[in-house]
């Protein structure tokens, strides 16, 4: 049994998820401190999304344990303190930007005043203020991504799970996303982010490299690069993967 520690935001021990005979996540041990920006890196199919889904309580682990803020992952008491941005846009495309934001605000038990205040701040951050009353279906993919991010930040979560938040987002906006994640980290929010863009990972305080569901390296981006004797993260990943294979 893992002891709930006030300083630890996310902890897993020997976490396994199998789909039939396929092992998506294989004996994953994580310990992420509060206020960290933790990047889960790996190619498609390495188990990043499955791990995030178990941490949000959307998938039941086959074995092992996962704790978020000292509670079992996905427990009802922890859900209001957690934010989740799925890989899909996951918005009601028949509703406006404002309707979507209000729905999630109400679901998270926010007052009307709080919803309006946060909505104003977030829409100005994602640069969509003038699209407030536009239907989601009329927005571009990048814009929809920004609304999706706003919906997951609305209730000011303590832990934020972002599954590939920068896919399909232009470089300029990607840079501003990372600035915002840094601002969240300074506010004490723990951000767990999955990405397969190795260059983005330099913005994380710590990273974990995943391959075939296993954690093959962990540490600050510099530590991981140095331990592999590589010039950059991409090279580090390839070297570490080769070492595993041989």
């Amino acid at each position: 049994m893992i002891a709930g520690n006030g300083q630890i935001a996310v902890e897993t021990r020997q976490l396994v998820k199998r789909f039939g005979r396929f092992t998506a996540v294989d004996r994953l041990d994580l310990s992420i401190q509060r206020g960290e920006t933790y990047g889960m890196l790996g190619p498609n199919g390495s188990g990043k999304t499955t791990a995030i889904k178990m941490l949000c309580g959307l998938l039941k682990p086959t074995s092992g344990e996962a704790l978020v803020l000292g509670e079992k992952a996905g427990h009802r008491s922890v859900r209001p303190r957690v934010g989740y941005m799925p890989q899909d846009i996951a918005l009601y495309v028949d509703l406006t930007v404002h309707d979507n934001i209000r729905l999630y605000g109400e679901i998270y038990g926010m007052s009307r005043g709080d919803i309006e205040r946060e909505e104003h701040e977030l829409l100005s951050f994602v640069d969509l203020e003038e699209w407030r009353n536009a239907s989601i279906s009329t927005l571009s993919g990048g814009m929809q991504h920004r609304v999706s991010l706003a919906c997951s930040l609305l209730h000011r979560p303590e832990v934020l799970f972002l599954d590939e938040p920068t896919v399909g987002v232009d470089p300029e906006l990607r840079a501003s996303f990372w600035e915002y994640f840094e601002a969240l980290r300074e506010r004490g929010v723990t951000v767990i982010i999955t990405t397969h863009y190795m260059d983005e990972a330099n913005n994380c305080s710590r990273i974990g490299l995943l391959r075939n569901g296993q954690l093959i390296a962990e540490g600050s981006p510099r530590e991981v690069v140095e331990s592999a004797g590589a010039a950059n993260l991409e090279e580090a990943f390839l070297r570490l993967a080769q070492r595993r294979q041989s």
Binding site: I89, L91, Y92, D94, E106
Partner: protein, 370 residues
């Protein structure tokens, strides 16, 4: 249960509809179209209709007519007095009482011999015309039997058939048809809209986002049920207005009881839609459920012909499909004018279906996380 969260779901559905003209058109046009097409085009035949025969005569002519009654159409039993036979009809235990007056044979013979002062030679049919199809078939069967008896006797007999309805005085096919089609339209459309809407929630990832939030599965289901309950009642109102203004139908009973039945049926349909959605990964798969929903309802729910007239081996199926109870309940309220006391079995059955289906749909949502 947090009502605010459930209402947030309700509002998101209704607001979504506001932007979705195609669905609004489906909600408004489909039931009207169904009513026109089926009301004009449909004609069915019935069999095994329970009728009580009261023979106060026991003469040759009445016995001849009774023996000529078509026993495919009618399921005959004998009742001693008129009052008891009418009570059976009033209670819904039989569809009609066929009454031969005392001295019927003697009066017929007297009239044949030119005695204009002879007694009544009329066979009275006291039918439950809440199902017009059935009532017409009963009267036709009696008239045919009388004609056949005359042919056997080789002469014209002064026999008449009098129609004195127990329920549905002045009712025509549309009066009978409207309650059934209201239930059918609400059941079909609510199930389909929920099914498609929920498959959309699953495929777009919104359901997953909801499930990571503090909302409970029961709040999602109740939110849906309220939204579609409201939509169902609006459809019912629309149909009632059109049926009254265009088709001039008669509503004997309390319309609020009809709304209660429609609302319950909508809740049953919502939960059925959610349940079915767990078996469909994409919209295209969900559409395949349509015949599964339509056909049994169409054939077995008593919309066009009474459940009593369905072959007995198929009849148990009628009692396990929820619209059967809604159709029967609506007809009892609108045509027979029955109050809650007369339809409580249907209400309890629908409530039971609603509770079981709601429970199962909540469970199906919880199971998704496994």
């Amino acid at each position: 249960m947090n009502p605010r969260r459930a209402f947030a779901v309700t509002r998101r559905i209704l607001t979504g509809l506001h932007h979705d003209r195609r669905t609004i058109a489906l909600i408004v046009i489909a039931p009207i179209l169904s009513m026109f097409i089926f009301g004009i085009a449909f004609s069915g035949s019935v069999s095994n209709v329970a009728v009580g025969v009261v023979n106060q005569d026991d003469g040759l002519v009445s016995l001849g007519i009774i023996s000529n009654l078509d026993d495919d159409t009618l399921d005959i039993h004998y009742v001693d007095d008129v009052e008891a036979a009418v009570v059976e009809v009033e209670d819904g235990d039989s569809w009609a009482a066929i009454v031969f007056p005392p001295g019927f044979t003697a009066s017929v013979m007297a009239k044949v011999n030119g005695d204009s002062n002879a007694g009544s030679t009329a066979i009275t049919v006291r039918a439950d015309k809440s199902n017009v199809n059935v009532a017409i078939e009963v009267i036709r069967a009696v008239t045919d039997a009388a004609m056949q008896t005359m042919t056997q006797q080789g002469r014209e007999l002064p026999i008449s058939v009098e129609d004195e309805p127990v329920y549905g005085e002045g009712a025509d096919f549309m009066d009978f048809f409207v309650p059934g089609i209201m239930a059918f339209a609400v059941f079909l459309l609510t199930t389909l809209l929920t099914l498609l809407s929920f498959v959309g929630e699953r495929t777009s990832g919104t359901l997953e986002r909801l499930r990571a939030s503090p909302i409970r599965e029961s709040e999602i289901v109740v939110g849906y049920a309220i939204a579609f309950g409201v939509i169902g009642m609006l459809q019912a109102s629309l149909l009632l207005v059109i049926a009254t203004l265009v088709f001039d139908i008669t509503i004997v009973g309390n319309p609020f009881l009809a709304y209660l039945i429609i609302a319950l049926l909508a809740v049953v349909s919502v939960s059925l839609g959610i349940l079915l959605s767990s078996a469909a990964k994409r919209e295209a798969q969900a559409v395949q459920f349509i015949p599964l929903i339509i056909l049994p309802t169409f054939l077995l729910a008593g919309i066009f012909w009474p459940i009593e007239a369905i072959p007995s081996w198929l009849r148990p199926l009628s009692y396990v499909i929820p619209p059967s109870y809604a159709v029967e309940g609506m007809r009892s309220v609108m045509l027979r004018g029955w109050g809650f006391g007369g339809i409580w079995i249907e209400v309890v059955a629908l409530l039971g279906f609603a509770l079981v289906f709601l429970f199962l749909s909540v469970k199906s949502l919880q199971r998704t996380s496994a």
